[in-house]
Symmetry: C2
Subunit: 163 residues, 2 copies
């Protein structure tokens, strides 16, 4: 193999992630005006349990970035197969993401959405900027279990579950 030009590497990345499935989550927080902010993410991973840490990736050009950059806490929601509409809404027009009556602010003014499979409260510890993106790393400070349903998975540009 030889070093490819960049378009070959971009193509390789896309081909690979079309073959790779990812769990689906929604991250929420509030902006400096106190308004709810949230987005769908397929990049949530555990970074060890001692101490309990979680990472996720964000495009720094996204509508949520300025709120995330200054957020002390975020709420991580894991999604199940009944949450497809939520996953789609939190990836579409950012002005409509909290238009439904399916969430409320908690004591930290984090939007907590009903009907998901679990919620973790993260305190942001570190933000690693990489080109146009960022890796956010948070300490788990609280959490609770939600509804029992099969997990939501993103694969080949569609929402699926496990077999």
């Amino acid at each position: 193999m030889t070093e490819p030009n960049n378009s070959a590497a971009v193509d390789a990345l896309k081909q690979t992630f079309r073959r790779h499935a990812s769990g689906v989550a929604v991250l929420t927080t509030h902006d400096i005006d106190g308004k709810p902010v949230g987005f769908t993410a397929t990049s949530v991973t555990s970074l060890g349990a001692t101490p309990p840490l979680v990472s996720f990736n964000v495009a720094r050009g996204s509508s949520s970035w300025s709120a995330l950059e200054s957020a002390e806490y975020v709420a991580l929601h894991t999604l199940g197969i009944d949450n497809v509409e939520l996953a789609q809404r939190m990836a579409a027009d950012h002005t409509q993401r909290f238009a439904h009556d399916d969430w409320k602010f908690d004591d930290r003014k984090l939007p907590i959405i009903d009907g998901v499979t679990s919620v973790l409260i993260l305190r942001i510890r570190e933000i690693v900027n990489i080109e146009a993106n960022a890796v956010l790393i948070g300490d788990v400070v609280d959490g609770f279990v939600g509804t029992e349903q099969q997990p939501l998975v993103y694969f080949q540009r569609g929402y699926r579950s496990v077999d």
Copy 2:
């Protein structure tokens, strides 16, 4: 909600990741003696396409860590449902991970394993140490498509596919 003690946070993390599904990959490289090193990972994410970047997490106490810490390149293999044995082997006894005749070194002396759904060659750009773990970030420099099969997913401590 109040700040929990650490064991409550650890429990919340575990409960959440039991409800979250992850794609399964195998990362390989060579150690300073040229021997093959590899491990199964469920933390592989894309970090944007311009430029094409990938991240994954590693425990710094793992058998692969000393090789990864000094690796210039790694090979990322995405796994399908036919690769369950490979996923199990690359998470078990590290002295037996390359005992089968299902791989060969490429020109960069990266072990390339047969029969996976795709392979990406990454040049490690940055290692972010977080407590006992590390986030590795690599530029995609090459890649190729493998076999056509349903993706392998890890969920509730077992290997599954999408429905």
